[in-house]
Symmetry: C2
Subunit: 253 residues, 2 copies
């Protein structure tokens, strides 16, 4: 287990990176991602699970749009995990999550995820530290199951935002009519717990067996540039092939 | 891990047990089980998962009827796991199982279960031994999750049948019109693998962290007698209470 200290990791792009060139490369990669996604659906040998986590206003929705927006809707699903329903509360925390995992030939993006159950619940003291330990062990076992038993590629992203940039993003939601729908007083209250959330993220990232990618997101174009790079490389690593021609196919019984 | 040798365990009732007296006690217990089940539903603090496994014709359906038949249908579900569908095959082996686990205030009986994925698939060599090891580790982690994160009581029964009694039971399905619907040629073919199934069961029972109850089932009345005893004691062990009176209750928001 490698401890990490998020405060030592920049939330911004390197100074010498050219934004126009980065955006050009992002568009190319996004288009290539959509091609490989078509192949994923056709080949039906792999499942792909993308997990997006980050503080409020860290740009999870935008990541979804910009990294996966070129993919065709068939074989692609985005799942938002909100406050659990009463039925979900009556089950273990992975119950609602396991239902939504990708089938072979499918890419699923979790906008928030099972990690909330060791983040918000921990920060507010709704669960004990013993429960946190058990849940982290369960999460590791769960992700391992998806990997070995369903050939699932798991890509986890922590969208790394600065406290100052969060204030700006949250203010925009108050000021801009097209962003009003995203405003929630609760986000401002949760902001009071910034340091506790950061500590909880650092711990969870360190104890996860499937590694996290930490993405500086204060500039959204840099987020898109990095994420498209990671997703594209991972999909290329699957070495997918277009299936051979099959003739005389009949319905399976 | 304690190895077991099923061939040394009798499949029959002790000679000195009086059948009439046993059946009287079974009826009493079954009625008491239904009372505790009502309390389980009312209290909504525990979930109960019963797993029934055994060779073909070992009496899983009959166990369901005779042990849980007095319980009210609300808060009770029996789930049959048959050959996986195409959609189920496109996910990890626990995906279809996790969906069906009991909520708090519910008792669910699995007629066959996730254990088939380390039994029939292993006997026929459809999975490697490495896959078996990983699946058993996943099963142990999964059952632990249900226990600690949703207060689930797990009761696992291996219905222990003799090879001779299986022949009789299978023959009855050919001879008796009311049992024709249960007949399947496949059962006679699977019977050829008797020793391999027994070895697979012995291994799985030994490596399961949540213990199994081994129930001699050649005489069905003895199966009912033993199972009602175990289920009743386990439910009593939950020390459930009827909830206090709540007045002025409003709909939760």
């Amino acid at each position: 287990m490698t401890r990490i200290d998020l405060s030592t990791i920049s939330t911004r792009a390197p100074e010498d990176l050219d934004r126009d060139e980065a955006e050009r490369q992002t568009r190319e990669r996004s288009s290539r991602i959509s091609e490989l996604h078509r192949q994923l659906v056709a080949e039906k040998e792999h499942a792909v699970l993308v997990v997006l986590q980050g503080m409020d206003a860290s740009g999870k929705d935008g990541a979804l749009r910009n990294v996966f927006g070129d993919c065709a809707p068939y074989g692609l699903r985005a799942v938002n995990f909100r406050k659990p329903t009463e039925e979900e509360f009556d089950h273990d925390f992975l119950w609602r999550v396991h239902k939504e995992v990708p089938a072979q030939g499918e890419m699923v993006i979790f906008n928030r995820s099972h990690y909330e159950d060791v983040l918000i619940q921990r920060v507010h003291g709704w669960i004990t530290e013993e429960q946190v330990d058990r849940r982290i062990a369960s999460i590791n076992a769960f992700e391992k199951l998806l990997q070995y038993d369903n050939n699932t590629l798991i890509l986890k992203f922590y969208l790394h935002l600065s406290e100052e940039q969060q204030r700006e993003e949250l203010m925009e939601r108050v000021v801009e009519p097209e962003k009003h729908y995203k405003h929630s007083d609760a986000d401002w209250r949760e902001r009071e717990h910034w340091d506790e959330y950061r500590a909880a993220y650092e711990d969870v990232i360190a104890r996860s067996e499937v590694p996290w990618h930490i993405i500086p997101v204060d500039q959204r174009w840099y987020r898109n540039y990095l994420m498209t790079d990671i997703v594209l490389q991972a999909l290329e690593g699957l070495e997918m092939k277009w299936p051979e021609l099959v003739t005389n196919r009949t319905w399976k019984v």
